[in-house]
């Protein structure tokens, strides 16, 4: 999932998730996750009071998440709310920590095993569940839900292997062969054109959450269709606020998938600068600073104070902040040049720009820590090959000499907000230190991301900033989506393989890993690790760091839970 930063000064990050997923088949290796996340919470007073319902929970976010229609919206900001208002066939367990990556059944009674060579799944749908407008949930709701995926403009790649999907477009979609609903015995059959081991994960994303069968197939704009969750959308205006109230028809059918929520009302307000958001939460005038907003330096310093003990939580994210190297243009069409800048990049400086070691961890490789198939690997440093300890300028300069690219002009592209500008300037400094002549190209955030993806601009930049956050825990989500040959779409604004990196032998291994997922998961996992290391050595990127995320809550908020998929679980918080 791509993080796109808005150009607003203070709130520099707005989550958008444009993903073009090229249909791999990898099982969510939730149980294979190694270790625990390095998360931290400031020491708090004992939190032994009993949770109680009630109150209004207010979130402050710098900007809204665009159109609210769940068939189009691809932002964490709305997803954190949609998981409370809607349900899907499956769900990530609504608990904290690593167990929260496990897939559990939600509107389905159980997770079915695939038949027909992995191409058919039969779900039994729970009875007695109502939408927030009183309509009863029937399996045919899902037909509408999946058809909307194609008739409403938005990402379609997750579900493009449903039978009949290839003929779908915004003009119309007939999935009667791919999504078969039987309203009398309450079953839903999904037929695929090819096995897809990630299907259960994809069904747990809000795109696939049930909406009433008579929901319009056109974009519903900012009116969110009714859902089955404990809350419902009362209103949403991106210039003011979103209001969620309790769904009167909700009852708990699975506490693991969809527990009851504590606050009576959830409000998300938009438009304040992040520094002011932090101040309001400090004053107790609001309850949460949206975790996607970047907290500026002054306020970070304030949050270290003992006054806010227990209110600040930091969690490692499975995400990369990196600089893609344009492998189609000199000098970085040369492997040695790419490796040179990787050796020279001063990752601890980038970490400081991100707010210091408590907010970012230097990264060399593609997969982030705590991710399936991650094994630490960092060839681009002095000494050890597993952990970055410092740049290796001598090696870098030697590689530049060997590549014959010394003195070439390099354009570094990034966004023109404060952090973006700082990262670009540090990269320029690193490039200049090994003999290149680097210059900046700072663009508005809404322009920058499509710009570096589009191959027509390829001659105009050499190093381009980008960031990627997981969609769900599957190595293909990084390795194939961002560096696979199939992710290069010429002349398109949507070509997530920004570096335009394509190595046929690595691609062959990716294909092998994907096909091995279902049959031999541990071999597949090992293969993904190998692919990660090989990709890293080919240096299509300069990976900078893996960010951590801050949750800052007001004093009267309790019950903090952090889920690796959805991050802060809002409706599980309670107010005293």
């Amino acid at each position: 999932m791509k993080l796109v930063r808005s150009a607003t000064h203070q709130a520099r990050r707005m989550r958008r998730r444009p993903l073009l997923y090229a249909g791999a088949a990898v099982t969510a290796m939730a149980m294979a996750l190694a270790g625990c996340g390095t998360s931290g919470s400031s020491p708090s007073a004992s939190n032994s009071a009993k949770p109680k319902s009630g109150g209004t929970f207010t979130i402050l976010a710098n900007s809204a998440f665009g159109v609210a229609d769940p068939a189009q919206n691809y932002t964490l900001e709305e997803w954190q709310l949609l998981i409370n208002t809607h349900d899907g066939l499956t769900q990530f367990a609504r608990v904290a920590g690593v167990p929260g990556t496990k897939i559990v059944p939600d509107l389905a009674t159980s997770i079915p095993t695939a038949t027909n060579g992995g191409k058919t799944y039969v779900f039994h749908i729970r009875r007695g569940i109502k939408f927030s407008n009183g309509q009863t949930l029937t399996p045919s709701a899902f037909v509408t839900t999946f058809e909307r995926q194609f008739t409403v403009p938005g990402p379609t790649a997750f579900y493009s292997d449903i039978v009949g999907a290839s003929a779908c477009s915004t003009k119309g979609c007939n999935l009667s062969k791919g999504v078969v609903a039987n309203d009398s015995n309450y079953t839903l059959t999904i037929n695929l054109t090819a096995p897809d081991a990630e299907l259960m994960d994809q069904l747990a994303l809000p795109f696939a959450y049930a909406v009433p069968p008579n929901t319009s197939l056109k974009l519903t704009g900012n009116n969110v269709p009714p859902g089955t969750g404990p809350y419902m959308w009362k209103s949403y205006n991106p210039n003011t606020e979103a209001v969620l109230v309790r769904n009167p028809y909700f009852h708990v059918w699975s506490a693991q998938a969809q527990p009851a929520g504590y606050p009576n009302e959830i409000i998300e307000k938009y438009g304040l600068q992040v520094s002011n958001e932090v101040t309001e939460v400090e004053n107790g005038e609001a309850n949460e600073v949206f975790d996607g907003d970047q907290i500026p330096s002054d306020q970070l310093t304030q949050l270290n104070s003992a006054k806010y003990a227990g209110q600040v939580h930091v969690n490692t994210l499975t995400a990369d902040w990196y600089m893609a190297l344009n492998t189609k243009q000199p000098p970085f069409n040369n492997l040695k040049a790419r490796q040179a800048i990787n050796y020279a990049a001063n990752r601890s400086a980038y970490v400081k720009i991100a707010g210091g070691p408590s907010l970012a961890v230097p990264a060399c490789q593609i997969l982030p820590p705590n991710f399936p198939s991650y094994k630490p690997y960092c060839p681009f440093t002095t000494g050890s090959q597993t952990v970055w300890s410092g740049p290796n300028l001598a090696k870098a300069k030697q590689l530049v000499k060997e590549s014959g690219t010394a003195g070439q002009h390099v354009i570094v592209d990034g966004t023109n907000d404060q952090v973006g500008t700082a990262l670009v300037q540090q990269m320029i400094s690193d490039l200049d230190s090994i003999g290149y002549k680097a210059s900046p190209q700072l663009l508005s955030a809404s322009i920058q991301y499509p710009y570096v993806q589009n191959s027509t601009n390829s001659t105009k930049w050499n190093v381009g900033w980008s960031a990627w956050y997981q969609d769900y825990p599957a190595p293909a989500d990084f390795l194939n989506v961002l560096l696979g040959c199939g992710s290069i779409h010429p002349n398109s604004d949507a070509s997530p393989n920004i570096a335009a990196f394509c190595d046929p032998s690595i691609q062959a291994q990716i294909t092998k890993a994907e096909s091995e997922e279902a049959t031999d998961p541990s071999a597949a996992a090992a293969l993904w690790t190998q692919i990660d290391h090989e990709d890293t050595l080919q240096a299509p990127w300069v990976d900078l760091y893996n960010p951590k995320q801050i949750d800052f809550l007001s004093k009267n908020v309790h019950g903090y839970k952090w889920n690796p998929q959805w991050y802060i679980l809002i409706d599980q918080l309670w107010l005293s």
């Binding site: 609210a68 691809y74 403009p153 210039n239 304040l272 398109s492």
Partner: protein, 323 residues
């Protein structure tokens, strides 16, 4: 008078036409801009983008698109934002206008009164140490970047001194409409009013002082003095009126510009969702419909403000006839 009004109305229409055309052209000349991509929601595949282009007429010649946009802005008033297909632009402008008007009117009243007082005082006290002192205060005022002033104001009133009696009455940032709660409307605007006017008082005081000192030596002033009028009467009735030409011209321009969205940094810093805030969102997201709507709204007020100023000239200086 009537011909004056009719002429100005016609000119207003022409100004709006020209400015919207220019805005349209600048937008489409910006590299990397693609309305279809914004409408389709990021990273849609090329097939979907093509469908969107056909559906929204984005393949048609620019002047056709312009005409369609003007129609949906003025006639059917259902112009939809590019960056959020669920947002109708015209009602948003309508909702934002009261916030900006409240902010700008209040600040304007404050700065006009204080600037006149300061300018008069400086001119009166010329030769004493208070004149340069006042001028230094004035200069500090308008040498301050607006966003900086706002941020400092917030730092003090919301953060550092928020719990003291000085600022505990300050509500959380944001605009409350007068209809909803007059006291909250007022309390929430006091600090923004002071901050915004702080930036302009100095400029205007300085301009006024300079003109006052100059006019001192005009013949008609000597006549007034020779007639034996008291100095204060000379000052207020004769000198001040004639010194206001520059003051009033600038005021018309600044007022028009602020209502048109010029207070955007102040609005952003104080969380007031007015026209300036919308303008800021619009050019951040490169959302042409909102940009167009704010530009049209602004153009109207600017022409109106200038027309009022032109009429005021005639009153201030009877030698001037409004064109």
């Amino acid at each position: 008078m009537l011909t004056f009004i009719v002429r100005r109305v016609l000119w207003t229409v022409l100004v709006m036409f020209v400015i919207t055309v220019i805005t349209f052209i600048i937008f489409f000349k910006t590299p990397g801009v693609d309305p279809a991509r914004a409408i389709a929601g990021r990273n849609s595949n090329p097939q979907v983008l093509a469908e969107i282009r056909a559906q929204f007429g984005l393949n048609r010649p620019l002047f056709v698109q312009y005409a369609l946009m003007m129609k949906s802005l003025f006639i059917s008033r259902n112009l939809v934002s590019y960056s959020n297909q669920g947002l109708l632009v015209v009602p948003e402008i309508g909702a934002a206008a009261p916030a900006t008007l409240s902010l700008v009117f209040g600040a304007a009243v404050l700065w006009v009164i204080l600037a006149i007082a300061m300018g008069l005082a400086a001119a009166l006290l010329r030769g004493t140490v208070l004149d340069p002192l006042l001028m230094i205060i004035a200069l500090i005022g308008f040498s301050t970047p607006p966003f900086w002033a706002g941020t400092v104001a917030n730092l003090i009133s919301q953060s550092s001194l928020h719990n003291t009696f000085l600022f505990s009455w300050v509500p959380p940032l944001g605009y409350t409409s007068f209809a909803q709660s007059p006291t909250l409307w007022f309390k929430g605007l006091v600090i923004p009013w002071i901050t915004l006017s702080f930036l302009y008082i100095g400029f205007y005081a300085r301009v006024l002082r300079a003109n006052l000192l100059e006019i001192q030596n005009e013949d008609f002033v000597r006549t007034a003095r020779a007639k034996g009028l008291r100095e204060r009467r000379v000052l207020l009735r004769h000198v001040l009126r004639n010194s206001m030409i520059t003051f009033v011209s600038l005021f018309g321009l600044d007022f028009g510009a602020l209502v048109a969205g010029g207070a955007l940094l102040t609005e952003v810093v104080f969380g007031i969702h007015g026209i300036g805030f919308l303008t800021y969102q619009a050019f951040t997201n490169l959302d042409l419909p909102t940009i167009m709507a704010t530009v049209v709204f602004g153009a109207f007020f600017i022409v109106l403000a200038n027309a009022v100023v032109d009429v005021a000239y005639a009153w201030l200086d009877p030698r001037v006839r409004p064109t």
